[in-house]
Each structure stands twice: as structure tokens, then as C-alpha cells.
């Protein structure tokens, strides 16, 4: 879908992106995370063909977006962190203008406006002026504008900034729905909690470099981490699990065991059946999902440790 290779971008005296390479899978929601100033917005702007990099290339389904920015824009949507709306236009006019500007044929525009408004749940606001909308609704209108042409790729820079909790939840639902419709989405934020709800992948950027890129959805992995808790006084859990094929990295904490196990539903069902057959008093059996924040911090710590090693070497 989106492929970024050896991207380099400089500001005077400062390299914002340093040899950045990654690929985005279709129909995924990638959380682009990193501290302020890490290069998230610059990376998104380069991917949106709004800034030209010093070196490297960005391709969207094989199309070099910097060689053909207009064609690329017709296949992607972008919501910058500081976006604006035409406050004096109605929601319908905003969407119609955007559809026309993105080359949607005249006969299809009304249907596209209706569809985008329906997806963003602002159908009842089509006649309202954009300037009269609440912040949450403005955000929905901005996203509706970005998806009016049914782009294959949607780039969102800090989309939840300034939204109240209810609006954030609404945004999560909207993004999941867009992904279900087949859209590939990259969302940047430095607030990890808001990304956790809907992200399938995590792309960690720090000081202009990609630290890590991995899938987050446990079901997309071959193995998952499972947590089993038994009632107090039950000591046989570790014995039973030790003899169970496929269990690795078993750890015990109190009356709770966590371990790696094949991810398939059949395997997990069989394991649960064996635990029941052993007459263990299981009170919890769950996939132990690693939180986005935990995963991010783990990567940052690993990167810091890797960086510290050469310094020790130099010191000798």
C-alpha cells in the first residue's frame, strides 16, 4: 500500500527525518507515535506529498507521490494538525466544494456528500454553517472532507487534539468503521491512550528515526500471551501448564500464570478444556494484551539501551 524508503528531510541545522523506511499494510490503522518534535508531522506531510524530501521516496501502490502529487492526492486524504474550515459555507457546500476540488464527477457529488456525512454522522447538519459547529462536529466535518473521494489512504495528524472524551470515543468508532470499509489509516499522536482503541500497528519514531514498527492486534500474530488466574490455594496450575504442549515463557505471580501460546481459537479452546478437565478452579482466562503505552515505552527503553552500548565501548 504505502512504502517509504530511505526518507531524509532537513530543516536548517536540523535533520527531521533520517533514513526513514517502512511499509504500511492495506486495511490497517497504524499509530504513528513519538514525543513532540520526533518528526511525526514532517513524516506525514512528506507522505501526503505536501513537503518534498531531500532524499528517498514514498510510493502509494507503486506511484511515486512526489513525481505525481496530483494523482497521489486523488488517492489519499490528509487532515493536518491545524486544519481550518470555511466557516461561512454550509456543511453541504464544504463537502460539495471538496468533492469538486478532488475531481469527483458532477453526477456523483451529491451521493458522495450524503455518504461522507452519513459515515461521520453529520447528515442532520448539512444545512448548518461550518462556523456554528461544535469542536467535535468540526472534526467530523474535517474528516468527512478528507474522505469524500473515498481515498485508499487516510493520514490524520493529531486528530483527537482538543476533543472531549465523548468525541474521542466517537472518533475511535469512526476510524474503526473506515478501516472496516477497506481504508488504510495512519494516525499520529503523542497521546497513546487515544490510539489504543483502534490501532492495529504501531510505528515508533524518535529523533527522526523509526525505532520500531510492529503489529499490535494479538489475533494477527501466531502466538499470544495468555493470562490464567485460579482460586487461592490452587497449586497445580503450573504443573498442568508445564505439561501442556505449546506453552512457553511461563511465569507465575501469586495465583496467576502468564505464558505464550498458539493464537488460534481452536488451540485456546483445547487448552481451556484441559484446564477444566484437570478440575482447576479457573476464575480468569484471558489474552494478555500489551498496552500501546507499554509497548512504546519498551521500544524507547530498548533504543536507549542500544544507544548507550557504543558509548561504553568508546569509554574503554
Amino acid at each position: 500500500m504505502l512504502s517509504v524508503r530511505h526518507l531524509v528531510f532537513d530543516y536548517p541545522g536540523h535533520r527531521a527525518l533520517d533514513d526513514v523506511s517502512f511499509s504500511i499494510e492495506p486495511k490497517s490503522i497504524t499509530a504513528l507515535v513519538g514525543p513532540n518534535g520526533a518528526g511525526k508531522s514532517t513524516l506525514l506531510r512528506c507522505c501526503a506529498a505536501l513537503d518534498r524530501p531531500f532524499a528517498g521516496e514514498v510510493t502509494l501502490d507503486g506511484l511515486d507521490i512526489h513525481d505525481a502529487p496530483r494523482s497521489a492526492h486523488q488517492r489519499m486524504g490528509f487532515l493536518p494538525d491545524f486544519y481550518g474550515l470555511y466557516d461561512e459555507l454550509t456543511v453541504r457546500q464544504c463537502l460539495t466544494y471538496r468533492a469538486a476540488a478532488l475531481g469527483v464527477p458532477g453526477g456523483d457529488r451529491a451521493a458522495r456528500v450524503h455518504l461522507a456525512a452519513e459515515r461521520m454522522e453529520i447528515l442532520d447538519r448539512l444545512g448548518d454553517k461550518a462556523g456554528t459547529l461544535s469542536r467535535g462536529l468540526r472534526q467530523r466535518l474535517a474528516i468527512a472532507q478528507a474522505i469524500i473521494h473515498e481515498p485508499a489512504l487516510l493520514l490524520l495528524d493529531e486528530p483527537a487534539a482538543g476533543l472531549d472524551p465523548e468525541a474521542r470515543m466517537g472518533l475511535s468508532a469512526v476510524l474503526r468503521a473506515l478501516r472496516d470499509k477497506g481504508m488504510t489509516i495512519i494516525v499520529s499522536s503523542h497521546i497513546l491512550a487515544e490510539l489504543e482503541d483502534y490501532s492495529t500497528h504501531m510505528l515508533v519514531i524518535r529523533e527522526g528515526r523509526i525505532l520500531h514498527h510492529r503489529a499490535l492486534d494479538p489475533l494477527s500474530k501466531q502466538r499470544v500471551r495468555i493470562r490464567v488466574e485460579v482460586a487461592d490455594g490452587e497449586h497445580r496450575l503450573v504443573d498442568v501448564l508445564s505439561h501442556e504442549g505449546g506453552v512457553t515463557e511461563l511465569t507465575l505471580m501469586g495465583s496467576t500464570c502468564t505464558f505464550e501460546y498458539p493464537a488460534s481459537a481452536v488451540s485456546r479452546h483445547t487448552l481451556l478444556k484441559h484446564l477444566m478437565a484437570a478440575d482447576l478452579h479457573v476464575i480468569e482466562f484471558a489474552i494478555d494484551e500489551q498496552g500501546l503505552q507499554e509497548a512504546y515505552l519498551e521500544q524507547v527503553r530498548a533504543a536507549e539501551a542500544a544507544r548507550a552500548l557504543p558509548k561504553i565501548g568508546h569509554g574503554r
Binding site: V8, P12, A49, H73, G84, D87, Y97, G103, R307
Partner: protein
Amino acid sequence: MWFSPELQRNLWLQLSWGRVLAAPILIGIVVAALLASWNPAPSHLAEYARWGFVLLLALWSTRRVADSLAEEVGGGTWESQRMTGMSAWSMVWGKLIGGAIFPWYCALICLGLMVWFSFKASPADLRIALGYQVATLLLAAVLAQATALVVALLLLRKAQFRRRLTVTMAQSAGLLAFGAAVYWKYSAVPLAAEIGTVRWYQQEYPANQFYLSSVAIFTLWALVGAWRLMRAELLYVNRPWMWTLFTLFCMAYAAGFVPWDVEPLTSRLASACFVGLTLTYAGFFGEAKDPVRYRWGLARFKALHWWRALEFTPWWLISYVLAAIAGGATIWSIAMGGELAWQNTWAADVQRYASVLTLGTFAYVFAGLLLFALRDMLFLLWLNFTGKMRGRADLSGLVVLAIAYGPLPMLLVGAGAAQFLPAAWPVAVTNLMALAWPAAEVVVVWFLLLLRWRQATRIEILADDREEPSIGTH
């Protein structure tokens, strides 16, 4: 919708039914009031209507066009516009016409009144002149708006986009362009132009047709400029062909006006050199001087990616090279015995004030001019590559150059140090030895620029294993 979506948006915003109806009613009330009170002659009413047109388009519409861009940037919608599938041309005319659609609507009513009252006032044989007048006004209005948009886009690219300042500067530039376009028509050669001729490349042309054609051609250039700048904003690759053509056109256009028949080739080459140097400065101040961009261009140049390197070639360099070619040709022409037509006119006046200037030394003067211009460009780049100065480097540079070419030579002469005049004033360069002054200045400024360049393009190294990236095909 067959027209630009940008125009459609502006129509929604600016042409409400209330405004569409109110404009002719208000103008009608003013005309009726004039007729009822003073009952001026139709020729006077035509004059008032013309002033209405001029004020609406030269003052208001230029402001509206610049503001339509400034509003987008300030309101955060410009990035969304850049993400659209609209072509650069569609954006340009959507903003030119759309951004000022209401002033245009009002101005066209005034123009209609002007034509109506002119018909009522003038004898039939003046109707041809009226046609030229209408054409000149319309072209001047488009020229003014395109110039305002060009200036607004230039300031946007220079990353010094302050809304009020941008709009004011763009409006002023538009106003100047409008004034220049109608000046010939109404002031310089008022009635003589109607029947007179213009001598260009030793051919006589009817003045009216010549001026109108000139305004039309420069309007076209302004539109081309706006289109190229919009292309750059939309991240299209822009190679500097248009700037090169524009410089060549201006040089050739100006060279045609040498009014004397004394050695026209030398004089024409000299005119072309002056115009080339003027555009060198104009190109420099018009362009963004981001050291990162210069570094990208140099990297591509070093990697022998000529085609890509062209994209980063600064305008001033192109104009300077063309001016240098014209200047070199002028020197060659003088050396071959050619004589400058001006030697009999203003050069004699200059000589009275600067005793060191002697006739027949113009070859040195042209070499000096080229060296001083190169020194200025390097000095201005030095200022622009200074981190803390970057935001106000151009303005500071202008002040320094104004002092260097104004009070400084006067001080030298006043202090009895006229022998040092060649170090400060290009027209005081009278022999090969005197040329050493500007040449030495070029070397010194070049060295300072190199030091500043290394500092400005040093990238903050955050990890030990970073290397200069391969620029690949971009």
C-alpha cells in the same frame, strides 16, 4: 460545474443575492444624486465612472486577491487546498476571478456607465479611442490582480507570511502595476499617443497599439508567473525555463527602445545588461533563500543529476549569467570600436559630478557593474544564511546596499579620498587596476559566505552512525 471549484466556492461566499442586487442599486443612487444635484456633463460622468472602475479594481480587487490567499493560510485551509486535485491553472484563475468577484461585478457596472456616458458625450470618431481605453483598463486590472497574487505567493514561499503585511505589499505591487499599465495611456503621452508612433528596433509602430500590446504581453507574463508559483506550491517540479524566458524577453524588450541611431548594437547590449542586472536583484529578493534548498541543489549538482539540479537553480543566478553575457558582449562591442549612444547625454552629466569618470571607459564600468552585482548577491546570501538574521536578511541587506551606494561614495569624495571611489561605486571603475577593488571584495565576501555556508548547512548529529544520505533520483 464546468468551472473551477475555487471559483464556485468564491461565488457562494461573495455573491449572495443581497449583494448582487445592492451593488447596482447603490451605484444607481450615486449617479442619480450626481445628475439631480450638479447635473455634470456626460464626459465628466464618464470620467467619474472610470475612476470608480479604477478604485474598485486597482485598490479593492488587488487587496481581495491577496487576502483570498492570506485567508486560506491564516484560516488553516491552505494545506487542504494543496491536497486537492485542482490544477495550478484552475487554482490561479479561481483565485484571480473568484477572490475578487464582487469588486469585479461592481467595477463592470462602472465600466458600463463609462462607456454609456462616453457614447453620449463624444463624437463618433472617438469611439475607437474609447475601445482602446476599455481594453487598457481591463488589461491593467488583470495585470494588477495577477501581480498582487504573484507577490502574495512569493511571500508565502519566503515563509514570512504575515497576513497584514503580505496583503499590503501585494496590494501595493498590484497598484503599481495598474499605474504603470495606464500611465502611458493617461499621463505620459496623452493625446500624442492617440496619433503618434513608438520607435522600437528602428521600426515605427502606432502608439496605441504598441502600448496596448505591451500591457497585454506583461499581463500574460504576470499570469504565467502566478501559474508557475502556484505549481511550486502544489509541489510540481518547476524548472526555471519561464524565468529564463522572462529575463530574455525583458532584455530584448528594453533593448528595442534605444532612441538614438548611434551604434545601436552596443547601446542595445548595454540596455539588455542593465535589465538583466535589475532582474538579478528582483529575482534574488523574490525568492526564498533557504540554505537547505541550496544544499539540495548543490547535492544534485555534485551527483551530476543535472535535470534535478535545474529545479533548484536560483532565479538570480540565471538573470546574472544572462546579464553577464550581455555585459561581456557590450564590452566586446566597445572594444571593437562601438560607441554608446548615452555618452552624448546623461554620461556627460554624470561626468560633471564624478570627475574620475572619463568617456571611453564604459567597458570597465560594465565589468565593474557585474562584479559589484556579484558581490551584492554573495553578501545578501551571507546575510540570508545567518541563522538569527534569516527573517529580516533581505530588508537588512537593502539598507546596507542603500548606504553602500549612496552616502558612502559621497563621504569618500567629501573626505578627499576619491581614489577609493572604485571600491564603492561601480561607475567610478575606470581602468583595470580600479577593477581590482570590486574583484577583491568579491573574493572576501565569497570566503565569508563559504564559512557561513558550512555553518548553515551543518546538520545536528543525533547519532554516531549517521552518514550523508544518497539522494537517489529525487
